[in-house]
């Protein structure tokens, strides 16, 4: 196992380099530059040329690439054009809100997914199963921006239960620790639920299928013959082995955990990685786009690795030599 982890970690470097290089090529191939995206009617074409020169955008792309690569090799991700701050500082600031949002979303994802799956698997093809199937397929197919709009309309505009945007209320800085935490949770609820609901639909579908498989296995028949109640059979005996695919899903969720959801963070004005990446792409902020890509790529690779390791930890069969 250690060797596998070591080899995968070694592969991380060239993979990240490859993805970042491809991103660099794609960003440069895209029309327009940072100077074109600045919203200021006073900027003349000559001034925009000055801005291009200021950020080194008038240099040949290969020269820009080599200088960026050299800096990255020394741990310097460059300076963001739009934020006028080191890319590492911008990303470090955006990461905690994204981790918080994605963590909460994952909680909704797993809890709701589990409830839907168990309800459906209790009596396969019964009316509860059919309803949860329609519900989960519906949620899976709904675009997240539409679901976000619906949640804002119901919970924010009509019921007034939760705020529609931002991490805190105006003046939240003046609050003491506990009210400030509650304020944060209230702001967290809708974006996390929105992300979690879509994920829960997928989790429910995976888990339902595995649960039904497990229920028909021989050890379940033996357990049933011992007179174990049906609910315990399902929640304890069947659920544990059925959760194995969820570990894979968890690992694959890591990239979203780190790179954020562009759509949800933008709609809910959540100051995370997704919003940073969206703003960077719109502003053609090349150092920031590349920095966010590096982090995202590393997260995908590490997420897959984490899933494999976790799988081996929870399922002894995966550790057996073939």
């Amino acid at each position: 196992m250690k060797r596998i982890v070591f080899r995968r970690m070694l592969a991380l470097v060239p993979l990240v380099w490859l993805v970042a290089t491809l991103t660099f090529v794609v960003v440069h191939a895209a029309p327009g530059s940072y100077a074109d995206t600045i919203d200021n009617p006073r900027l003349s074409p000559e001034t925009r040329e000055l801005i291009r020169a200021r950020y080194g955008l008038d240099r040949p792309p290969l020269e820009q690439y080599l200088s960026w690569l050299g800096a990255v090799a020394t741990g310097d991700l460059g300076t963001s054009f739009m934020y006028k701050q080191p890319v590492s500082a911008v990303l470090a600031r955006a990461l905690p809100p994204t981790l918080l949002l994605a963590g909460a979303a994952l909680f909704f994802d797993l809890v709701l997914g589990l409830i839907l799956a168990v309800a459906a698997a209790r009596r396969p093809y019964g009316w509860v199963d059919r309803i949860t199937t329609v519900l989960s397929l519906g949620l899976y197919g709904v675009p997240s921006f539409w679901l976000a709009g619906l949640l804002i309309l119901v919970f924010s505009l009509l019921l007034g239960w939760f705020p529609a945007s931002h991490m805190h209320s105006v003046d939240a800085a003046s609050l003491s620790a506990l009210p400030r935490l509650v304020d944060l949770l209230r702001h967290l609820f809708l974006p996390a639920l929105c992300l979690g609901l879509v994920g829960a639909a997928g989790t429910a579908r995976y888990l339902r299928a595995t649960l039904i498989d497990v229920r028909s296995s021989r050890f379940m028949l033996a357990a049933r013959a011992r007179g174990i109640p049906e609910s315990r059979l399902l929640w304890v005996h069947a659920l544990r082995p059925a959760l194995l695919p969820v570990v894979t899903i968890l690992g694959l969720s890591l990239p979203i955990l780190v790179s954020g959801s562009v759509v949800i963070e933008t709609i809910f004005s959540w100051p995370g990685m997704g919003q940073v990446a969206y703003n960077a792409a719109r502003a053609r902020d090349i150092p920031l786009i590349l920095g966010a890509t590096l982090i995202g790529t590393a997260a995908v690779i590490l997420g897959n690795l984490a899933a494999d390791v976790l799988y081996a930890v929870v399922d002894p069969r995966a550790r057996r030599p073939s």
Partner: protein
Amino acid sequence: MKFSRWLIVVAAAFLAVACSPPGPEAPSDTVVIGALSDIASWNPYLAEDAFDEEILSLIYPSLAVEQVDYQQHPPSFAPSLAESWEWSNDHLALTFHLRTDAVWSDGVPVTAADLLFSWRAQTSEALGWLWSDITDNIDTVEALDAHTIRYTFTHRYPYQLMDVNDGPIVPAHAWADIPFEKWEETDWRELVLSAGPFVPGLHTPQQEIVLERNPRYFVADRPRVSRLVFRIVPSKTGLFNQLLAGGIDLVNDIPPAEAARVLDNPDLELAVFPDRSFTHICWNLDKGVFADPRVRRALGMAIDRETLIDAVYGGFGRPSIGPVLSTMWAFNRDLNPLPYDPAGAIELLAESGWEDHDGDGILDRDGQPLAFEVLAPSESEVRKDVCLLLERDLARIGVRATPRLMEWGAVQAAVAEGNFDAFVNRWIEPTQVDLEGIWHSTPPGAPTFNFGHYSNPEVDRLFEEVAAASDFESQKPLLDRIQTLIVADQPYTFLVENTRLVGVNSRIHGTKINDATIFFNVDEWEITEQPESTSLPE
């Protein structure tokens, strides 16, 4: 603990959070303003974005305040940091007398030394201020005493005062030790000193920017509100929803289609005023089909502007006539809008050889159909709708205009490369009327706003005369003639003079929002208490 019990705990926690109070008590003296983006730099000499400039104008003082009286004559100025000024007899020297009671937020007086230091920043090559061209015609700057400063110009021209006033004033005593070449890498947030109505408060990146009332502001008892909070919502739809929900007090640039919802809301007011911008179609004159002015005129005559204004702009707008807005002093009032005359358009096109020879419903000449693409940014709902109406109107005279919608950065690149047929664009007109940047002919490859490559030698010659004119009175006839020539040539089809719509919560009073800035009289804004409102805007 069993899973079902966990669920009960989670559900209880959810209910507790949902039922908890919505936030801290509403600060009754705070105005919450919607913003699409965050501030990038707190140093006005590093600001690039118009939003940054607008916020910084509330912090750093200016010598004078440009008034919004440019409809009748060139804009006048009211005293601000300078309590008065006078011109030399030859109009080449301008002397300002500064207020003696103006201080920075650390208590140090604002003096001529600050203006001298600001002048050094404006002209520093190491700093490379983007707008340093406003100093081109200023020869020398000298401090006559602590509160008197004189600017001497190389020659007399109409915008001398405006050029001096456009240079931000920054604190010499706090910033002079930082070399200009280090400015770009300096974190300015902690170094900001204000002599304007507000000082920076808490800044939460990508969330909000707080400006607190400056207790040392030189105008007594101003500003009247304690704080401005800029809440950053990165989408226009989100901003508008927050305005409707009461979370934001003021949103600039309400889409015309949403105006009715603001008007129907008893808590909101809609400020409506002529915007300093016009929407037009820029024809690419390098494309053979648009080289003929009769074709351009015919295409313009086929467009029903009144219907366009009603359908796309909700009735908010006026037909555009020429390159200067009809609300500006420089507008040539002898010009008339192009008539809506589809029959006349068909005749004009026939004169230039465009007829439906093959009976397919599309005009053609030498076997080529009269078909082209109309480029517009996909982010702008208004311009997308304009494209659709153009397509419909032009189809009625046998012209196929296909909308080509692209992301704004891609549009800019396509236009700069000349890779377009027609482009639906919007120009914002500064009060310093400058037609040369858009209409003077430019050599191939040079950076220009003359995207369609319009060229008229007489117009070029007139621009030289405008540049040499020493005052507004001698400029006006030249500008009139330029407008007449451009309208006759129709390198653009001038569509709509836009109307600006600003949504304001009715608890805010005394706003005189205008097309110069929404913050024109921000220090006079007041808030009336709303007893029924107990919760804080989210």
